[in-house]
Amino acid sequence: MNMALLFDGSLIVLILAVAVWTMAVRNSFAAVIGYATYGLLLALAWVRLAAVDAALTEAAIGGGLTSVLLIRAVVRLRSSESAARAETPGRVSRLLAAVLAGSVTAALALVVLTLPEPAPTLAPQVAANIASTSLGNAVTGVLLSFRAIDTLLEAVVLVFALIAVWTLTPDPLWGGRPGPRYELDENGMLAYLARLLPPLGIVVAVYVLWVGADLPGGKFQAGTLLAAMWLLAIMAGLVEAPPISQRWLRGALVLGTVVFLAIGFAGVPLAGAFLAYPEGHAKPLIIAIEAASMLSIALTLGLLVLGPPERGA
């Protein structure tokens, strides 16, 4: 028991230290690397909080994909860094900010310490109703059955974000390919890795999706893995990023949401409500939604990292 306490204590101290360092360090590149480290440490914290699904998501998206995104950005912004840094606010505003941030922290700490005991929880209700979905993973049950609308809207969020990113395309390049052209180095290590890893990654992604019904995992984690494999192949120069005007690409982007909506509406005549599943068929339908969504999520995440088109088709 004491070992556990020691572990939790060190982890928390480490997380806070890395967070402070990420904020304080002058070099932005270092800050981004700090953030990647922070994401991985945070995933450990999630495991300690018995939220393995969240840990996987945090490690894959919070730590992994966000870091790739930020590293790419920081390299491109390097030339403007010193100019922007010169604008650091004066001592008074820093003090005010510290007071504000400090009081928010104090208020939150107070609330955390006074949270009711025993804690209110929906776990019993989830446990009582999860049988109707025949899922073993309660989190997947919440995401795809009880609170399916949130998950549906989240898929819409991803589409909106991608549309918003694409708005930033310079007019002449509309319909072009996102990201720079990556040269393939046939004998390079990266090309080797990009040939070796994706088959493995795809297997793992399908596995993560499949077990997500009963164990930690699901479409987001699997989709992120696929996105990472795709990005790896693109950055190694093995495949090209597709032009954003491609019809198949558009179709694949909305596939998950369309399947979700279709099954949702099928629930009206078959199960009596939008987003309800017919008795006994919940699990296969949910897996169908998850499989379609995984593809759309993978493509969307990958394209979000690549950014708006930068060259012609």
Partner: protein, 97 residues
Amino acid sequence: MSLLLDLWTIVAVTAGVFFFLAGTVGLLRFPDTLTRLHALTKADNLGLGLVVLGLLPRVGSPLAGLKLICVWLLVLLAGATASQLIARAVRRSGPPV
């Protein structure tokens, strides 16, 4: 028997952690990118290998053991690629800021 296994786990994991520690110290203290990379990859690959070896007797099923070994191999692969890329970037464009 179980005492022996326990001892093996303790020794191997401790040794592994030591290599991690050494690698991290190297990362923080060595003067330039290449030597830092050297310290990091050498020590971490070995460290993780020892930790995995130490944990192998404790897994419940052969499948779980296989997963552990896969983790080690994947980290080896990723580490080797990443450090090679970093080293090449350094050789081409000089040390980063």
